[in-house]
């Protein structure tokens, strides 16, 4: 039997907030054996990170472990003094964090940072520390460690920085590694590589790993056992295979269902969990999930004990799912939103004071049309946005005189069209130019060359007042619901401001518009007098959406609209976006790194790589039959919440990292990372070729054979792009 490394028993961590004590972690127990990876999963605020920090005793000042034991190799860490604890940190237990940019010291070389634990714990000499540092950097896959060792963090890409972060954690060869959302800030392609690295290192060093994440896909592929947390409590714990095959807790089930799947029926509503996690200082009595639970009964006012439901499968619920056939997560996969075998809950679904109880169901009105009807309607719709040979380059200056020494080719010759009422999804890794493209479409940035037309007019030709007046036709929805609303303006003023700026209606009409918008996005009218900080992230994103709709725009450009939200909230917003599109005849340009989200939301998808549009087509088509190896790689890299699929994946589908946009590779820009690349790819830029109706891709060695006629007629969703790209003579 493997050695037990970590044994956490009945851990309770409290935070002292103003007048109340709040238990962020309440009676959590877990064990990890040598070489084992245990996942801790839940939404933000569920206490998963606090559990990790409690083990390390790195809690903020107001936080303390108030009871329980943390046994590391049989030794209890809780009673240790701070000085003794310092001996443990970085030596026996290491921790890596989410954001590799802010988690590394910007003013220290990476070599010094990796060597630091050695200096602290072993008092290593300079020479010895350097040798071990180079070894560790090599171990985590940093190319040419000797040249890199004197670099500063900002000189490295995000992926390399996270490798350095891992190196600092591993330098002293700890027995336990706590990885707190280690890949959340990274692109999917890089995420797969970093997770592969962690897997490899765990095996090589036979470390125990506690993987904290919100991503069920990551959990499915990488962990041996999983614990699900909700509002500070452990609600379910099982082996990974068991948890996904026979989910018992309604929260875990709902969490799994609300993740948009690549196989999702895009015309069906995404199942979502109503409301949001409770405030820890005002917990509901009994089961903490009961107010949001569809199976809740009067019994749930008592706290359910964590009991063994099957061998090694713990669950804290009076009404575990999966007991009756037809319910449970596994069944829900094949039929999302399928009614469960359990009768209507006697308790009404929970609502928060700000969300009328009808809100979630209102999102669904009117009944969504089926996919075929929608496609037909779209094919007949006129083109609203035309993007024609769009180029954006930013100058790079250098030297003492700040001469122009080159340019960042952010967007290179991109053309496409969006029909009225269509949702166009733009996907790619960070740095591929998708946000720049979005800003140009929103007329916030002037292209270097090429044009963007909205309803036939080139908005950026206009100046001053004319341009400002036409801006009402274009609105934006932002990623960060915290940063994109003025914290010193009341929600009413935020929503009314566009109307005031554009001089639409009188005072009374403006307030009426605001009130009806609040109804529409499912917020109480009381919201007008509140400030943004009084709302949760999901509610703020609703406000952001309402703000975008105030002027009744024709096009909404949404840049990563749900990537800052928890999955249960994300699905609420996605449903809302779809409902509003139907009610207002909106056209969306949605920019996202998340293919599953785009696949659910979009009619057409454009895949961008390093400034180029490499593939474009109907959403289903792109997923079912990707032609470009990059698209295929991206799809492969998405972690799927299914252990059998995830664990079968051999290795990261797209290797390496995005090259510099200042000197993009010659010919096909993807060739440096492409498994199929040959000589011609370096010499000639591949033209866009047709692969079926409305489906084009730029690749010399596509995964499908190109259709005979490039001009695909009668396409349900026609793209403007049909002519070959320049350079393909």
């Amino acid at each position: 039997m493997k050695q037990r490394i970590l044994d956490v028993e009945h851990l309770r961590t409290e935070f002292h907030l103003r007048s109340v004590n709040v238990a962020a972690v309440d009676d959590v127990s877990l064990t990890i054996d040598q070489g084992e990876c245990v996942g801790l999963v839940g939404e933000s605020g569920c206490g998963k990170s606090t559990t990790g920090l409690s083990i390390m005793r790195l809690l903020p000042r107001s936080g303390h472990v108030t009871s329980g034991r943390v046994l590391l190799d049989g030794r209890d860490l809780v009673p240790l003094s701070e000085a003794e604890m310092r001996q443990v940190r970085g030596r026996a237990v290491s921790m890596i964090f989410q954001d590799p940019m802010t988690s590394l010291n910007p003013t220290m070389t990476i070599g010094a940072q990796v060597a630091e634990p050695l200096v602290i714990h072993f008092g290593s000499s300079k020479k010895a520390a350097l040798d071990r540092t180079l070894e560790t950097l090599h171990l985590v896959g940093i190319p040419n460690p000797r040249e890199r060792v004197d670099d500063y963090p900002h000189q490295l890409s995000g992926g390399l920085r996270q490798r350095v972060m891992i190196a600092t954690a591993l330098a002293a060869e700890p027995k336990l590694l706590i990885a707190d959302e280690p890949t959340t800030a990274l692109d999917v392609t890089i995420q797969a590589q970093i997770l592969d690295l962690l897997d490899r290192l765990r095996e090589e060093l036979s470390m125990a790993v506690l993987l904290i994440t919100h991503d069920m896909g990551v959990i499915a592929g990488r962990t041996d056992r999983v614990m699900v947390m909700y509002a500070g409590k452990m609600v379910e714990a099982a082996t990974t295979d068991e948890l996904f095959a026979a989910t018992r807790h309604p929260y875990a089930e709902a969490l799994l269902q609300s993740i948009p799947q690549l196989t999702q029926d895009a015309s069906a509503r995404l199942p979502s969990i109503p409301g949001h996690p409770p405030d820890l200082s005002r917990l509901p009595p009994g089961c903490r999930f009961a107010p949001r639970c569809r199976y809740a009964s009067p019994a749930c006012v008592e706290e359910p004990p964590l009991e063994e439901a099957a061998a090694g499968h713990l669950v804290a619920c009076f009404h575990p799912v999966g007991v009756l056939p037809g319910s449970g997560a596994a069944a829900a996969w094949s039929a999302p939103g399928a009614p469960s075998g359990i009768p209507e809950p006697p308790l009404p679904p929970a609502t928060t004071p700000l969300e009328p109880s009808g809100a979630p169901s209102r999102d669904g009105d009117p009944m969504p049309p089926d996919a075929a009807t929608r496609r037909l309607a779209l094919a007949a719709a006129p083109v609203l946005v035309e993007v024609d040979h769009l180029v954006k380059e930013y100058p790079v200056r250098g030297g003492g005189m700040r001469r122009r020494v080159g340019s960042v080719k952010a967007v290179s010759d991109v053309s496409f069209g969006i029909r009225r009422g269509e949702t166009f999804g733009l996907v790619g890794e960070s740095g591929c130019g998708k946000s720049t493209l979005g800003r140009m479409v929103a007329a916030l940035e002037r292209p270097t060359s090429g044009t963007v037309r909205l309803g036939g007019d080139e908005l950026l030709r206009l100046r001053g007042a004319d341009l400002r007046r036409r801006r009402r036709e274009l609105q934006l929805m932002f990623q960060d619901p915290y940063a994109s609303l003025d914290p010193r303006m009341r929600v009413g003023s935020i929503l009314r401001e566009p109307l005031v700026v554009q001089g639409v209606g009188d005072r009374r009409q403006q307030w009426e518009t605001v009130a009806s918008l609040l109804d529409e996005v499912g917020l109480s009218r009381r919201a007008v007098d509140l400030y943004p900080h009084e709302f949760s992230g999901g509610q703020r994103q609703r406000i952001g959406l309402a703000r975008a709709l105030t002027l009744n725009p024709r096009l909404v450009v949404a840049d990563e609209p749900v990537s800052a939200l928890d999955v249960s909230i994300q699905s609420q917003i996605l449903n809302l976006m779809k409902a509003l599109q139907r009610n207002h005849g909106l056209t969306y340009l949605v920019i996202s790194h998340d293919l599953a989200v785009l696949r659910y939301l979009s009619d057409t998808i454009g895949v961008m790589y390093l400034g180029k549009m490499v593939e474009l087509g109907a959403a289903d088509d792109i997923y079912a039959r990707p032609a470009h190896p990059y698209t295929h790689g991206l799809i492969q890299a998405i972690p799927v919440p299914d252990p059998s699929i995830e664990k079968a994946k051999r290795s990261a589908a797209v290797r390496g990292e995005l090259p510099s946009a200042v000197n993009p590779p010659s010919g096909c820009r993807f060739r440096t990372r492409c498994p199929l690349a040959q000589e011609i790819c370096a010499e000639e830029e591949p033209p866009l070729r047709g692969f079926g109706p409305g489906h084009v891709a730029a690749c010399h060695f596509p995964l499908l054979s190109p259709s005979a006629d490039q001009q695909a007629g009668g396409a349900p969703v026609v793209s403007v792009t049909s002519e070959p790209a320049p350079g393909a003579s």
């Binding site: 790195l58 310092r86 970085g90 921790m95 003013t107 220290m108 630091e116 900002h154 972060m165 003492g400």
Partner: protein, 313 residues
């Protein structure tokens, strides 16, 4: 780094040229012109004419600026008829004393404020931090001349340990130190409160940052945390502040010098202002401006030296 230094230096030169044009303009806007300003209202037409020719004031304005700028570069900043000495000579006599006073008080302020701010940041919101903050607030809200007067009352009149005037400056190292002590303290305490306040808040920010948490996760001791991870990052923002404070320290010294009778540029300026000795006044203004520009340049270079993100761009 070289590119950055060259660029920053170029900017400083451009700023200096603009400033010199402004000062030249002020010189010409003097009532009755430069000649009358020097000779006084009762000078004869002949002597006015003679000085006009002598100073080249009949030439086109651009040429005049060229001549003036060329002379200024060589340290020839005109002649003080009141003191019967060239402005350049006066400045070369008084300026070093200022550099001594201001330099010592600034260095002392930094030497006290940086560790103080670091400590307060580390001990934030604990009783010792609150006590120190309160004390610093007292210094901060007190104008330097009042501080000077209080210092004189306490350390000279009540307990006679230090001289209250600096008239016998330059008579030996021992006296110089005792003579400088009070003006240096009067000038420095306000800055200590200012710098340490800033240092405290950037220390707090840094202590709460992710990279400090990483250092803690490695097992770093508080000492290592403060000296290796927080100090340098907190200094980057404080250094900019120090550079920006330089002109205020210089102008503060004008009052302190008058108060302590310290024979520095402040005293020179004070007397010149009372005598309407314009060439001297403008000479001092020019020196203060140069100091400001140089101070900013040094601050930026210091920033670049501390923060690699500025260096490698």
């Amino acid at each position: 780094m070289t590119g950055f230094v060259v660029r920053r230096f170029g900017q400083a030169v451009v700023v200096m040229i603009i400033v010199s044009i402004v000062i030249f303009g002020i010189l010409h806007a003097l009532p009755g012109g430069l000649v009358r300003a020097q000779l006084g209202p009762r000078a004869t037409a002949f002597s006015v004419h003679e000085l006009t020719i002598q100073e080249g004031l009949n030439k086109p304005i651009v040429v005049q600026y060229g001549i003036w700028a060329w002379h200024a570069l060589q340290g020839r900043l005109g002649f003080s008829y009141k003191l019967n000495e060239s402005v350049g000579a006066l400045l070369s006599q008084y300026l070093p004393r200022d550099l001594l006073l201001v330099g010592i008080s600034l260095l002392l302020a930094i030497a006290i404020a940086v560790p103080l701010g670091l400590w307060q940041g580390y001990r934030r919101n604990r009783p010792d931090d609150h006590a120190l903050s309160a004390l610093m607030l007292v210094f901060y809200s007190m104008p330097s001349f009042l501080l000077g007067v209080i210092l004189i009352v306490v350390l000279n009149i009540w307990v006679d340990v230090l001289p209250s005037t600096a008239t016998n400056f330059g008579t030996g190292l021992g006296t110089d130190i005792s003579v400088l002590a009070l003006p240096v303290f009067a000038l420095c305490l306000g800055n200590v409160s200012y710098f340490s306040r800033y240092m405290r808040s950037s220390t707090v920010d840094n202590l709460l940052s992710d990279h400090v948490r990483t250092a803690l996760a490695k097992g770093a001791s508080p000492r290592r945390l403060l000296l290796r991870h927080v100090l340098r990052n907190s200094l980057t923002s404080t250094v900019t502040l120090i550079g920006l404070t330089l002109p205020y320290v210089l102008s503060g010294s004008l009052i302190i010098e008058a108060l302590f009778n310290y024979p520095g540029m402040g005293l020179l300026f004070w007397n010149a202002a009372q005598d309407r000795d314009f060439p001297v006044l403008l000479g001092v203004v020019l020196v203060v401006t140069v100091a400001t520009v140089v101070g900013n340049l040094l601050a930026d270079l210091g920033y670049a030296a501390l923060d690699p993100r500025i260096r490698y761009k």
